[in-house]
């Protein structure tokens, strides 16, 4: 039980590390966000779940589940908000970017957007 938890935690920490590494290596902010969000969400999830598996008497499972749920819900949301802000702020995409439909549509219509209806 404890060994399984330790292995899961180790896998999670590897994902956290890869996420941070991707944050360092990727060429522009949007690609960095890709690495940052996905790998760290998965990494945190595995890291905490492994700890809960190995130490369930000490720390209790319920709150750990709560942290995991909260991270899964809020992490993509905050990344979306930040990516949108970066795009609106005019931070350029990387040089080898193929196409940018959002900027194209943005120019086509000037009225304020975001209503969603």
């Amino acid at each position: 039980m404890e060994l399984a938890g330790a292995i899961i935690t180790l896998a999670g920490s590897v994902f956290l590390f890869l996420g941070a590494l991707g944050l360092l290596r990727m060429p522009d902010i949007y690609n960095r966000m890709q690495a940052g969000t996905k790998a760290t969400t998965m990494g945190t999830l595995l890291f905490i779940a492994g700890l809960a598996l190995g130490f369930h008497q000490e720390i209790g499972v319920a709150r750990v589940v709560l942290i995991i749920l909260f991270v899964i819900f809020t992490n993509p949301l905050s990344t979306h908000a930040l990516a949108r802000a970066a795009h609106k702020h005019g931070i350029p995409l990387a040089k080898d970017t193929v196409k940018d439909d959002l900027a194209q549509d943005e120019e086509a219509r000037t009225e304020p957007e975001g209503e969603g209806k």
């Binding site: 404890e2 180790l10 956290l16 360092l24 760290t40 969400t41 709150r63 942290i67 930040l82």
Partner: protein
């Protein structure tokens, strides 16, 4: 065996924290720094849970929960400021 693996995991997490910190220092735009800070926060949450487990204090988990909420709201605030929404 298991304890060694846990220790290695914590060390890897700390290394990830440092790497994200480098991005926060060099990040060319403010958005880069905020993303790096967000990643650092999430890694710190994991490490707080790690501490809670190894010091056998369940109460530290509460700190992690509140920290994740506050960091989410902070990132939203900065994002809204960057897109001139507030």
């Amino acid at each position: 065996m298991a304890d060694t693996l846990y220790a290695v995991a914590a060390m890897t997490g700390l290394a990830a924290l440092l790497i994200a910190f480098i991005r926060m220092i060099i990040g060319p735009t403010s958005a880069d720094r905020v993303v790096a800070l967000d990643v650092m926060t999430i890694i710190s949450i994991s490490l707080i849970v790690f501490l809670a487990a190894f010091l056998e204090r369940a109460i530290y988990i509460d700190v992690a929960i509140v920290y994740s909420i506050i960091s989410f709201i902070g990132v939203i605030a900065i994002a809204r400021y960057m897109e001139r929404g507030i």
